[in-house]
Amino acid sequence: MYDAMIAETVTITGHDGDAIEAYSARPLTPGPVGGVVVIHHMPGYDDSTKEIARNFAFHGYNVIMPNLYWREAPGASSDDAAATARAQGGVPDDRLVGDVAGAMAYLKGLSNANGKVATIGYCSGGRQSFLAGVSLDLDAAVDCYGAFVAGPAREGTTMVPIVDKTPSLSCPLLGLFGADDQYPSPEHVGLLEDALKAAGKTYEFHSYEGAGHAFFSVNRPAYRVEAANDGWQRIFAFYGKYLSA
């Protein structure tokens, strides 16, 4: 099997026509292959999330990960950029949608693209993946423990609940959660599931016992190997189903 890939920093056109930095990882095959927009977690556009992007490329998907903090901190290290963006309350929802739309356009413009695009996001990116799903025409979306989709808002931030937008969800949703997580708690996840059922949407949720927030993070104490391994399998099965040509 030919498995060469290229991974590199590129510039894409994001919200409001802004040129923003992004990380691209793509298999060097003629395709056609599906595309994945990786939405990084609150700690930023960092090495570990770039590793996730490369893993999707290794599995045969074109991947783009926009640097959501580029405007606040162009050229800064990922931790300094995250601190700056965090102090400003996070990424505005409309800007996130515009940046994901730009990322989708980048993926659809690749010569080996099959035209199908999914999102995946972790932590704050989980909520943003759902936000993209209710705002843009996607083929699949994955929400990994995104808080503030349902439940109370976090004052002083951009983190307002968006569960009321569920009827607008454009694609099947895969949700992966830790049963020990408090944000989102099992109650918050239940509220989202109720909304998905009420709207007649296609979804698949898995909540892992013994896992809390950020269980996919291999470089953090929150890492839970069994949950993460099963989660990766669920993601690839989901994308295999909805991103195939």
Binding site: P43, D80, R86, G90, R154, A214
Partner: protein, 86 residues
């Protein structure tokens, strides 16, 4: 979770960052995911010089227990200092 719980305070002093000493004018104190410390959440303090850009930052990530101990130590030192020092 990403708490976004933050206290901001104006400060006056200096800190030593990646490029040397800088005059810091602002601090952010927050409880959230650390970048490096081996905890799910930590008490983080950023000493900042915003006019120099996002990279002008002296950062610490502390366990919640050690952050409380640090806060007490700061108060204790200031309380016991001889009067009149500037």
């Amino acid at each position: 979770m990403c708490t976004y719980l933050t206290e901001k305070v104006e400060i006056s002093g200096s800190g030593k960052g990646a490029t040397g000493w800088i005059s810091v004018t602002d601090a952010s104190v927050y409880l959230d995911h650390p970048v490096h410390a081996p905890f799910g959440h930590s008490l983080n303090i950023d000493f900042l010089a915003p006019e120099l850009g996002p990279s002008a930052r002296v950062a610490v990530e502390l366990s919640q227990e050690s952050a409380r101990a640090l806060a007490k130590a700061i108060e204790a030192v200031l309380e016991s200092a001889p009067p009149g020092l500037e």
